[in-house]
């Protein structure tokens, strides 16, 4: 062969890292501006509150990202959170040991995720449809189980967890690290992580290469369900009640965090650190808007605009312009 030069794009080496740093810079910039603009932002109490709120969305966003990388979507996560608060509240009030109540609730999340996998793989339903169906049914089941009432959790040791801190950092934020590190290893350093990407990029090519596509899809939705159930446990501990209507609209926040964090809704592009940063950027905007007395309706509009701007610039960069 001749030694011709071929027109190949420069590889986007460390693109993920660069994008992550940009998000981090954005987050720090927001924090600096808000610290200067409002006296209360930089207070320990407010920061702790922001971290608590952001943490729960962040954990959901990680699970959501696994699903989106396969080219799917999980609309049910908000409903799973609400449902999980009911389950864990009922179990604890029934006298089940806390560790067992938590474990059982997590298993419920796993079961819901497996059901999504079943619907997609075995029944051939689009992910949007099956998770939309569980979104509405889970809320209904939860309401039936509680007769529409909130359940007050009568265990102080359980509820104390979410309010307490460890070496000055809220326990809820430690949970992000607890989830984030294994999630990072799983996505970027295990073969199952590679399979999530390959299935999202081309399921047929993956199948022909010996990848178990069905199992990969089951895995993604199961992990998403697990993350959501875990957030349900944390939320129940934080507010001290079980209520199936909690976490309304959180699925959209989780998806938004993931997308702001660089996940492509077309699949095969995503990371763990991106959605985490995305979740805290969203939490900061909401928190800052509250402190600045911005009408809460505007917060939603700002979130929408932010999604458009970030995804637009990300698209520009990916196209190499």
């Amino acid at each position: 062969m001749s030694t011709e030069v071929i027109p190949v794009e420069k590889p986007k080496r460390n693109y993920n890292v660069l994008f992550g740093l940009t998000l981090l810079a954005l987050l720090v910039l927001l924090w600096i501006i808000l610290s200067l603009a409002t006296p209360s932002f930089a207070s320990g109490n407010n920061i702790a509150n922001l971290l608590r709120q952001g943490s729960m969305i962040a954990i959901m966003a990680v699970g959501q990202t696994f699903v989106i990388i396969t080219g799917g979507i999980d609309l049910s996560v908000g409903a799973v959170v609400g449902f999980a608060t009911v389950i864990v509240a009922l179990l604890i009030n029934a006298g089940v040991p806390i560790w067992l109540a938590i474990l059982a609730t997590l298993l419920v999340g796993v079961a819901i995720g497996m059901f999504h996998g079943f619907g997609i793989v075995k029944m051939g339903l689009p992910p949007f449809i099956i998770t939309l169906a569980t979104l509405t049914s889970l809320r209904g089941i939860g309401l039936l189980m509680t007769n529409g009432n909130s359940i007050n959790i009568n265990s102080d040791s359980f509820t104390a967890f979410s309010r307490n801190s460890f070496i000055g950092i809220p326990n809820l934020f430690w949970m992000v690290i607890l989830v984030g590190i294994p999630a990072y290893v799983f996505l970027h350093h295990s073969r199952w992580g590679r399979y999530l990407f390959s299935v999202g990029s081309n399921a047929e090519a993956s199948r022909l290469s010996g990848v178990n596509v069905q199992r990969t899809i089951y895995m993604a939705y199961t992990l998403s369900g697990l993350c959501a159930a875990f957030v349900g446990v944390l939320l129940a501990a934080r507010i001290g009640i079980g209520n199936p209507t909690q976490a309304e609209g959180w699925e959209l926040q989780a998806i938004a965090s993931s997308v702001i964090g660089g996940t492509s809704l077309f699949g095969a592009v995503g990371s763990v650190h991106g959605p985490l940063l995305g979740a805290f950027i969203l939490a900061t905007i909401n928190n800052g808007a509250n402190l600045l007395n911005v009408n809460s309706f505007w917060q939603r509009i700002i979130t929408g605009a932010l999604i458009i701007i970030i995804v637009y610039f990300d698209g520009l960069r990916r196209r190499g312009k």
């Binding site: 062969m1 030069v5 071929i6 590889p11 290893v185 990407f197 990029s201 090519a205 022909l208 095969a268």
Partner: protein, 507 residues
């Protein structure tokens, strides 16, 4: 506006032989690459001008410049005596320059008629005149001699038929200059003949045809003149009557034709796989054996059941009767996973749809079948991941800046090397290659054939499916001919003539 079959080309036939389009020092640079070095070339009206060259020789760049998809770096394009900017696709189309691409770029979910008039719909008071359009479209199709319905959904047609529709579509827009980019890659012989009839007819009407193909016999069948590109340089232009295969290939690759089909003979060893009276969807009662060190070629027309047969061997589809023996033992192959575990590897027909994860790195694509081996229970060994990928890239001479580049950024030939290369580290015993050289240039073809030899020498067996007769003819130790789902004839290496094999395949 809607045009009828009669006034497809309302302008009087262009005077043949007049220069319609002239390139003066046309040049394209990408950052770091000189994709097209200054080209001077004049195209005459009413000529069929073939352009040949390897992948990456600059053919695609030339098309993109002429159709306004990309701006040129320097040089001039003279259209009918006037300089033309060709800055946008719209401008090119307005002049009468159109292209039919290798991959069909139409809307699969719309009807044939809707596609034919896409962007130029016939409507009255904003309401689409659907029935009228179907009628018009049918008239055009019938007039061209294509036996196809205009009211069906495009996606229900075969790829070949879709390609014919794409060609028909290009002719209804006052086209004076029509570029065909590898139009026959997915066509059956009959469809190709229909296309050639269409092309000759357009030529008769004074339309200039640019015909880009890797298939030499088509170039000699159709073209009046042929230009050869190599490494972005126009090597030369010849009248078709004054040149031959060997000269063109030599101009293209600086290497003689004998070196392309590189056939190594090995003494066949033990049987690797045997099909006994195997039946399934699309094929019936097929028996054959593949032994270590031999290439078994499957020749037939598209739809003859060859792909269905091998995908059933590979566990993609269920067999309905018969037996599969792997190394003389009966086996059940219920999934691709089973097949891969036994030691089979399949490089599928369509690399975009079935072969590659295009928006993922080259390295990941190459390692996909072997991640289990290069990871412990939990983690991937990143050192092994790197060395395995780099070794395949070096061994196969895949032209990529790094293993981290996206598969989509490589040329077709290099993508095909990934599809094949990912199985080499896996160490399979039986390799199934389904149309491995479609849309691949001569140089890459030669490399792929040399790879076959390397696999055979390691004791592997190969099933080679091809619709390109010279390929199976020159490479297969045993050549099986398929016709309508049945195995109708078998030959040894070069044992039957081309004509016999072709006759058996057509029946």
């Amino acid at each position: 506006m809607i045009s009828t079959a009669q006034d497809l080309h309302p302008a009087p036939a262009l005077e043949p032989g007049r220069t319609i389009l002239e390139l003066r020092g046309l040049e394209k640079r990408y950052p770091g690459t000189h994709a097209l070095k200054p080209v001077n070339l004049a195209f005459k009206s009413g000529e069929i001008h073939a352009i040949v060259g390897e992948n990456g020789a600059g053919k695609s760049t030339l098309i993109k410049l002429l159709t306004g998809v990309m701006p040129r770096t320097s040089g001039e394009v003279i259209w009918e005596g006037q300089p033309a900017a060709l800055a946008t696709p719209h401008e090119a189309m307005a002049l009468g320059i159109n292209a039919v691409h290798q991959e069909v770029v139409l809307c699969r979910h719309l009807t044939v008629a809707a596609n034919m008039f896409l962007g130029e719909e016939n409507s009255r008071f904003g309401i689409l005149q659907q029935r009228a359009m179907v009628k018009e479209a049918q008239k055009i199709i019938d007039d061209l001699g294509f036996d196809l319905p205009a009211h069906v959904t495009l996606g229900d047609l075969t790829i070949g038929q879709q390609q014919l529709i794409a060609a028909a579509r290009a002719t209804v827009r006052g086209t004076k200059f029509l570029i065909f980019d590898e139009p026959t890659a997915y066509l059956t012989r009959k469809e190709a003949d229909q296309l050639f009839t269409l092309i000759r007819r357009l030529k008769g009407e004074g339309v200039t045809i640019i015909y880009i193909s890797h298939r030499m016999e088509e170039v000699f069948e159709l073209a009046d003149r042929v230009s050869v590109l190599r490494d972005g340089t126009l090597v030369g232009t010849r009248n078709i009557a004054e040149t031959n295969d060997a000269e063109l290939v030599k101009m293209m690759i600086n290497r003689s034709i004998e070196q392309v089909y590189h056939k190594e003979h090995f003494t066949p060893g033990a049987a690797i796989i045997e099909a006994r009276n195997l039946s399934g969807k699309g094929f019936e009662d097929i028996s054959m054996t593949v032994r270590a060190g031999e290439i078994v070629g499957l020749y037939g027309l598209i739809g003859a059941g060859r792909s269905e047969f091998v995908t059933t061997l590979y566990g993609r589809h269920r067999k309905s009767a018969g037996q599969i023996l792997w190394q003389d033992k009966p086996v059940q192959v219920n999934s691709e996973h089973d097949a891969i575990k036994l030691g089979m590897a399949l490089a599928p027909e369509s690399r975009r749809d079935q072969g590659l994860c295009l928006n993922l790195p080259v390295g990941l694509n190459l390692n996909l079948p072997i991640y289990k081996r290069i990871s412990n229970n939990l983690l991937i060994s990143s050192a092994q991941e790197k060395t395995q990928a780099d070794r395949q890239i070096a061994d196969l001479r895949i032209k990529t800046p790094t293993r981290g580049a996206l598969a989509s950024s490589l040329s077709g030939g290099n993508q095909q090397k990934i599809v094949i290369g990912k199985w080499l580290a896996h160490g399979a015993k039986l390799f199934i290659f389904d149309e491995p050289t479609v849309g691949v240039d001569v140089g890459t073809k030669a490399e792929i054939y040399r790879l076959f030899g390397a696999l055979l020498s390691k004791g592997a067996g190969i099933i080679l499916i091809s619709s390109y007769l010279p390929e199976v003819y020159e490479l297969a130790d045993t050549l099986h001919v398929f016709r309508r789902g049945r195995l109708v004839a078998s030959h040894g290496f070069r044992a039957a003539s081309h004509e016999d094999v072709l006759t058996q395949a057509i029946g």
